[in-house]
């Protein structure tokens, strides 16, 4: 059983947005009854069928690493967190739909995980100055998930969803908006479930398959994302 192949996906976001609830929902199909502060990192495993329904169906383990903390932590905490960012195959960015700051902090989270920390001070880069080119050559698939959808009032929903659509576009990623206390958002067959499945398939593909469908032989763990081995793969 443990001989299945595995991929590692980080789950990043501010404190209190609902990462632990989300991971629990994804891996155990149940709502988390008593959420509490995540100290350090908590991991959970999801069994995923790659290319489900086709003859090439294969089962993989997806490790979801839920890293706790905030972008404004002391640099000692950031250095300790950096040990979890090695050899990452995919990143899920989680933000709170009721809290605009958590969405803005996603830029810093993604930069921290991709080892390109720009601004060491507390000054936040506004959307207008954001440089999309930083993400142009990023090989790691991203997914943006907005939580606490049930707490957004009907009248404000359209405005919030437009804002998050821009956010997801900045990251060149898909987005899912849901409520972690209600499993029906990820029910089989719903559009959210399809997006999720597509994201995991993309992660597995980038890790194990070349563009022409051949399988890459097992890699030794690399320290930095996009290290020498994948540079030869160019996506026009």
């Amino acid at each position: 059983m443990a001989s299945l192949d595995r991929v590692k996906v980080l789950v990043l976001g501010d404190s209190g947005v609902g990462k632990s609830s989300l991971v629990h929902l994804l891996c155990q199909n149940q709502v988390l009854g008593n959420p509490s502060w995540t100290v350090g990192c908590s991991v959970d495993v999801r069994v995923h069928d790659y290319k489900e329904g086709t003859p090439e169906e294969k089962t993989y383990y997806i490790e979801l690493w839920d890293v706790g903390g905030s972008v404004g932590s002391a640099s000692s905490v950031k250095s300790t967190r950096a040990v979890f960012y090695n050899s990452v195959n995919g990143i899920i960015l989680v933000h709170d739909l009721t809290n605009k700051k958590s969405s803005q902090n996603l830029y810093r989270w993604s930069l921290e995980a991709l080892n390109r920390d720009l601004v060491p001070t507390g000054v936040l880069v506004t959307n207008g100055d954001y440089d999309r080119e930083q993400f142009a050559d990023n090989q790691i698939p991203l997914l943006v998930i907005g939580t606490k959808l049930d707490q957004i009032h009907e009248t404000k929903r359209h405005e919030v969803l437009t804002r998050t659509a821009f956010l997801a576009e900045d990251f060149n990623a898909e987005e899912i908006n849901l409520d972690c206390t209600n499993p029906r958002y990820l029910a089989a067959g719903s559009s959210n479930a399809v997006k999720l499945s597509r994201f995991f398939d993309k992660v597995i593909e980038k890790r194990y398959f070349l563009r022409d469908g051949n399988q890459i032989p097992g890699f030794p763990d690399r320290k930095r994302f996009g290290g020498g081995s994948l540079k030869s793969l160019h996506y026009d």
Partner: protein, 420 residues
């Protein structure tokens, strides 16, 4: 560019604000003594009203709104909470000899005395802790030696623990999947009958799961410990590097001065308590008198003491409030969440208000004799000596317990992961 614009707007508005305020206050409002006195009294009344009536009620309201059950009757329950608060607040005054019997029940002295007790306790606790923590933080004598290999070894252990957790979780996920496919649904025993049923009949798969879950819980606890220790090591390493820079050396030097000052303060607090002494003159006047007597330098004592003590009092107020805000911010940042942020901000406001009132009480000791009567007039007839004694006692207790606490924390940490 926007940063420049913002800062220029801020600076201009601040200059305008202070300039206008100075003009207004000096020329118009405080022409005579009477109006100054009136405004002092009025400000004090307003602050007390806010501290005792508005803020606790607001805090109670937010706490009650957080509890979903009582959503309908929010106002009623917050009123109840406020009444309980008032009852305990009043009871607070009983064990302390703070009032003379000439005051009525609704006078302002009652409120001030109680607020003063709480505020003075808070000030003494913070000063005691700060007096001990400050030299401990600044001086590099206490820094443990941390090398890169220590950190790497700890990180390796952390990752190994994470790997063990992952392999166990993989087994659990696979077990759940096969159980689901076979049609047995794993139900957590819910309710009383569920637990009784699970004693007699339990699927072998779910038994396995609970066993593995317990092992995973223990491993997760271990991983949390390792994470915190690693963060601690990184912080110590940064402090060592910082202490080698010029700024670090300067602060190290300051630390020695601070430690002498703190030891002196603790000593004075002990002497005050043991010998039941109350200071008569303030330190500045005494210092100037000493210089005049022993060094023979001619000073106009009254003139200089007034100005120097004024500046000193200002510095003391500013630094103590600044220190309080920094400490509280760090503390609240660690425990804040989206639910309780309102409550925390209000608690902060409450603490600041009490701190301010009691610092007015205590600053009286640092002022020259002729100004003390002014404070006494405004605040009413309170037993000031009691407050100073109370401050000394709590300061001593707090300083000694923080020394003990820091000693224990310092001792138990280095034995764990130092390279031999």
């Amino acid at each position: 560019m926007s940063f420049l614009v913002d800062s220029s707007i801020m600076i201009t508005s601040q200059i305008l604000f202070f300039g206008f305020g100075w003009l207004f206050f000096m020329r118009q409002l405080f022409k005579d003594y009477e109006s100054r006195y009136f405004h002092w009294k009025m400000n004090l009344c307003v602050i007390l009203l806010i501290l005792v009536f508005m803020v606790p009620f607001y805090i109670g309201y937010f706490i009650v709104s957080n509890i979903r059950l009582l959503h309908k009757q929010r106002l009623l329950f917050s009123c109840l909470l406020w009444l309980t608060f008032m009852y305990f607040f009043w009871k607070l005054g009983d064990p302390f000899p703070i009032l003379s019997p000439k005051h009525g029940i609704l006078s302002i002295e009652q409120l001030i005395s109680r607020v003063g007790v709480i505020g003075v306790t808070l000030m003494a606790l913070l000063s005691g802790f700060g007096a001990v923590n400050c030299p401990y933080t600044y001086m590099s004598y206490f820094l443990r030696n941390v090398t890169d290999t220590d950190i790497l070894a700890l990180e390796r252990r952390l990752l190994q623990t994470m790997d063990m957790i992952i392999s166990k979780k993989k087994r659990m996920a696979m077990t759940r999947r096969t159980m689901f496919q076979k049609g047995e649904v794993h139900n957590k025993p819910s309710g009383f009958w569920g637990m009784i049923k699970s004693v007699t009949t339990s699927a072998p798969g779910s038994e396995n799961l609970t066993l593995i879950q317990q092992e995973v819980d223990a491993l997760e606890e271990l991983s949390r410990q390792l994470f915190l220790e690693t963060a601690d090591l990184y912080a110590t390493k940064e402090r060592i590097e910082y202490s080698k820079t010029f700024k670090g050396k300067y602060f190290n030097f300051l630390g020695y001065f601070f430690s002498i000052y703190c030891v002196w303060k603790i000593f004075m607090a002990t002497i005050n308590i043991v010998f039941d002494r109350v200071g008569k003159t303030d330190p500045v006047t005494r210092g100037i008198e000493i210089t005049v007597n022993y060094l023979g330098i001619q000073f106009d004592v009254k003139f200089w003491s007034q100005h120097i003590s004024f500046i000193l009092v200002g510095i003391i107020i500013v630094t103590s409030i600044r220190g309080l805000l920094i400490t509280l911010t760090k503390f609240f940042y660690a425990i804040s969440s989206s639910k309780s942020s309102n409550v925390i901000v209000l608690l902060l406001a409450q603490i600041m208000g009490m701190y301010f009132v009691s610092s007015v009480l205590l600053i009286r000791m640092s002022m020259p004799l002729e100004y003390r009567t002014i404070v006494t007039e405004v605040l009413g007839e309170l037993q000031f000596n009691f407050y100073h004694r109370w401050f000394d006692v709590i300061f001593l207790v707090s300083a000694l317990s923080s020394i003990l606490f820091l000693y224990l924390a310092h001792k138990q940490a280095p034995e764990k992961h130092m390279a031999p």
